[in-house]
Structure formats: C-alpha cells, structure tokens
Symmetry: C2
Subunit: 364 residues, 2 copies
Amino acid sequence: MKIGILGAGQLARMIALAGYPLGLDFIFLDPSVDACANQLGEHLHGDYNDPVLLEELAKRADVVTYEFENVPAPVAKYLSEHTRVYPPPKALQVAQDRWVEKNFFLELGIPTPKFALVDNLDDLTQAMSTLGYPAILKTRSQGYDGKGQSILKSAADLQVAWDLVQGLPSIVEAFVPFSREVSIIAVRSVSGAVAFYPLSENLHKGGILRIAESRANDVMQAQAEGYVSRLLQALDYVGVIALELFEVDGQLIANEFAPRVHNSGHWTIEGAETSQFENHLRAILDLPLGSTAAVGKAAMVNFIGGLPETADVLAIESAHLHLYGKSPRKGRKVAHVTVRAANTDSYRNALDSLERLANQVDDS
Amino acid sequence: MKIGILGAGQLARMIALAGYPLGLDFIFLDPSVDACANQLGEHLHGDYNDPVLLEELAKRADVVTYEFENVPAPVAKYLSEHTRVYPPPKALQVAQDRWVEKNFFLELGIPTPKFALVDNLDDLTQAMSTLGYPAILKTRSQGYDGKGQSILKSAADLQVAWDLVQGLPSIVEAFVPFSREVSIIAVRSVSGAVAFYPLSENLHKGGILRIAESRANDVMQAQAEGYVSRLLQALDYVGVIALELFEVDGQLIANEFAPRVHNSGHWTIEGAETSQFENHLRAILDLPLGSTAAVGKAAMVNFIGGLPETADVLAIESAHLHLYGKSPRKGRKVAHVTVRAANTDSYRNALDSLERLANQVDDS
C-alpha cells in the first residue's frame, strides 16, 4: 500500500518511519529539493499545484494525506476527484482561514476569544473601539509559528500592526489572559472510530512551541474531548487532528486547529501506546485505532535553529532524540527530544537537562 | 553520517528505522534485488565479495556493520583495511565456525554441551561411542534456523545424519536436557561502555524462534551477564551481541552467539527504554549507550511463512506490528509482533491472541 503525502518535512518523515512497520511505502510531493523525508520514500519534486505531478501522485498513491494545512484548495479538490484524500478537503478549507475557522468554532458552540474581521485600517480601528487592548492582529491565512501576527498594546500600534500584515485580509482577536495553553490530539478512522490522547500542556515562546508535556488525567480532558469531538463530527473527519486551547478561569477557549499530526503530539512516539503518526495511518487506512494510553510521564522539547552535540543529548537518561535531517538555520525546527520516564524525579531531571541544552543552542 | 550494512533484510531494515531519528543514513550491500531494507537507503546490488561494490561501500560509508554473520572472511578483512568495521572481524571468524566457537567458549570458562569434531562418518561413529544418544550433528558453518542440523537418536541414524550434512565439516553435540532456552543481548561501545538487556526467554519450534519474552529480574541474569562479558572482553567487541543459552539444573550452558542484533531482542523496540537496534548504532558510533531497562512486560511473536490480516493484529490491544515488507513464503520470517503492557492480564491476553494468529497462518 502506497501513501502519498503532500509535503516532505519532518512530519512526513515521522509518518513514514511509523508506516514502514505497517508494511506501507511512501511517495512525497514537495517543492524543496532537499526535503527531509526524501530519504524515506520517492520524491516528486515540484510545486504543489503542478498538474503533471499531481496526476502522478493521484495515480500512484492508494491514499493521499498531507503534513501541512496550506495545500491550495484546487489541489485538494483535484486529488479528491481522483483518489482518496484524508483528512477531508473541507477541513483544509476551514483551517486555512482564521475567519472561517473562528466562525466554525462558534457555530459548533466551541468558545473562542472575541474577534473581528479586518480588511482595512478603518475596520481595525473600529474593531478595537469595542474589543479592548491588548489584542492580536493575524492574517486570515498562511500564518504559522507566530508568523503574520502582530500585538496591539494601544491605539498607537494600529498603523504599525496593519503595515506588518501588509494589508492582507486579517482578523483581530482579543488577547486572552490564559493560565496555560493545552492541546488535544484526537484521531478518527474512515469507519468513525475515535480516540483521544491525554492533553498536552504547551509552552510557546516567540510564537514557537518549545515544550509539550503529556497530562494524563488532566481535569480539562473531558471538556477538550467534547470540543474536538464536535469538530470531528462536523467535518466528517478522518485522520489525526490537533485542537489548541487556552485555559482561562477553569474553562477552555479554542485558539485554532490543525488538520494533521501536530508538534504538540510528538511525545506520543515514546509516551503513548501508539504514536499519533501510526494512528494517523491506521485512521486513513481504516485499520483499528491503537491505544492512546500514556506510557510513563512524557514531554517533548523542540530544538530551534541550533543543535547540541548528539552525544550530549544521548547522555541524558530517558532522552529520545529525533533529528529531522535538516541543517540548522535561524528559526528552523531541527529536532525534538522526548523524555519518557516511569519515575517523576528521573522525568524532571531529564527535562531540566534538556531545557538547558535547548536554550544553549537556541537560535529562534 | 552514513552507515554501511552488509545485508538488507529485516535486521538492516530495523537498524535503519532506528537510525533516521539519530540523523543517520544508510547504504546496503545485498545480493537480493528486492531485499526488504532497500526502501530505507541506497542499495548496492551484488555479491558480498564483489570487489567493485566493496570498494564503493568502503568509500561511501563512515562505518560498516552487518546483519548476518556469514560474511566471507576476506570481505571483512578487506573492509577493515579501508574503513571501520564493527563488530570486529574476529567475532565473525569465531561465530562462523561452531568448532572454533565452542572451543572459544571453553577457553573463556563458559560451559557448553559436550561436543566433538566430525570430518567423516568414522569420526561420528567414534564420537557417539562416548557422547551418548540423543545428540545433534551440525555443520561447522552456514547453519541458521535449524538448517544443516540433524538429530541422532540411535546408531541407526548415523548414516542418514551424515548424508544430511552432505559430508560437510561438522561437529556432534550432546543433547542437553534443558528446562528452558534464554538469550542475553548485550552491547559494548567503541570506548568500552557496556550494557545488558533483561534476559529473553525463548521458545523454538522446528529450529525457528517463535516467541521471546522479556524477563526482568530473572534469577539467571547475573550468570548470563558474566558469560557474555567474557565474550565482549575477549573479542574487544563493539556493537550488539546475542548469546543463546540453555538452562539445565539452575546452570546456564552456552549454545551459540550471534555477532549482531538478534531476533530474540526484537521486543526491545517497545519493551526497553532503548532498542537493540538504536544501541547497536550508538555503540558503533561511540555515542553514549541508552538505558536497557524494561518498559512494562514484553514479548515478541514471530510470523513464519504466512501473514494474518493487518487489521486482525492491530485489533489486539498492546500489539505492535512489524512487517518486514517481504512476501510470504514457506519458512520465511515475514513479520513479528511485540506485545507490551504494564498489566499482567492485558499482557497475557494479548500474547494468547497473537499466538493463535501466528499458529493459524504458520507455514514453516
């Protein structure tokens, strides 16, 4: 069985590593000549909307999935007319536009921060008269890892913020005084079986995820499962989904969702019975889902921009290294390390050591 | 860093799957055009002693290792003159010849079954006059999975057994009335760091390993570690080694060793902090060894000759499937499944279900 993946970055790489033991092989479409999943399958090299490559992908792959959500809509449409595409193109369409996404949340009764549409500076000024500072201006599409975002602290920031988004269609969103950020990774198979991972508690810095900790038996688990279930149903979703949430006064508020495997779920490789990558494949192939139960206590630390010596990571007991085969470059995610331990002290010590290493080489 | 591997079967495949997260890539030399590791690296296609391919392998790989022990001696010699080769060629030389291997055990004070050299039918008749029935005639080299072996139950079997080994240089070995078979997987790095996995308790049928169970805190652990340590020292060994032992009256007796990752250690992928495959790579690259501690209770079941439906395996909670990408054929190892569980009941139920599946499709 051949799986086609749009994108050949680290997410595709980890999907492939999870897929070979299931007897699968892989074909990637990616515009980058040295995309890091290329070693693990065939590489169709070119633009995502190259009709010749898309035709080849549709012909050769039994199922097509994607590792990033900015697949052009016509591409998803073309592919879904010629082969099976999961998650469904509708999920892409919603996730690609923050305005559509936020309204979709509200229709499903999932609370969001207050927000308003901003097509010009007047819209922004008008919105801020009711929204209250601080707030965040975000382009409706193409943003990730904090890109295309600008914080508004007072009326003096309006012009600068608007210039920063370069006049692109945007939304402005009230800042939420959250006590923490969590995400829930869920998975739904073709025949509708659903499973939820324990919550991840996430630490961002500069808009980039730094640490995600597994949270077995978190008090917010049930509420998060309830919200993500509504998304799964409404989208007739297939595959892994990640819903990012803020906790405010003991309530969860949706930030955004990603229709794909997610950085905050990387700890599941060692810290859950079945990884998010394997369960994504099981889901899109309509195989029984694997247990999402926690194995020990686990956390993931991202390495951004720089890498420590491999030996320094491996010397940390309980550390599991995942290099992406990418050369270090400012702001680039080049590796993650999972800590997984049965014992709280070992866990804490390993996590402290890793955070120190990550900070030493950080170039974000 | 590029790792060269002689052989591109399932062991090489699992080494590669463990190696990508460490940032490694792979080049395999294998005579089979559809060897199952080929999807995971470059494939040099040809005989192990093809001088052009060996030169290319030596030039391109930073370190060369092997997945099977019948590498021709001149090949190991050539490679070790041009690049680093681990485990050391001396280990190959000993493991390739049961007569040399058994004498090597004895020199190190590691007990073995009684044995004698057999170069002709007279030798065999002579040896059996003192060894006593039952006994096993084995070719000195090239045997694996019970091939090249013949059981002698009485003097009437001598001629048939000798014909079966086709007049090849052999040894005859007293049958050992063992209560169980165990193996110890150990690993030693370039700079001499050593680690031992919990014992595996192994069930063979028809000369082929069927089930290997992890045995944390086994009473025989210390004795097994003592014996394998002598091998590691005497061979100035680097990499993973497996020593197979019989238990007789509370004592261990060596059967044979394999200078490579081993089928009885496959459960370490899920059932140990660090798998034998990752630790083999860490060892030959002189990186810190990873913890060999058990994670839950684990066992591995081999699928021989036939495969069940993937969905039937994945429906078993706690089962982790490892397909080798090989088409089923009589007697061929085509997959293994690891069961790993924190809870004894779950473990036992899953193992029972898997054994049933394995027996249903068995074609060995």
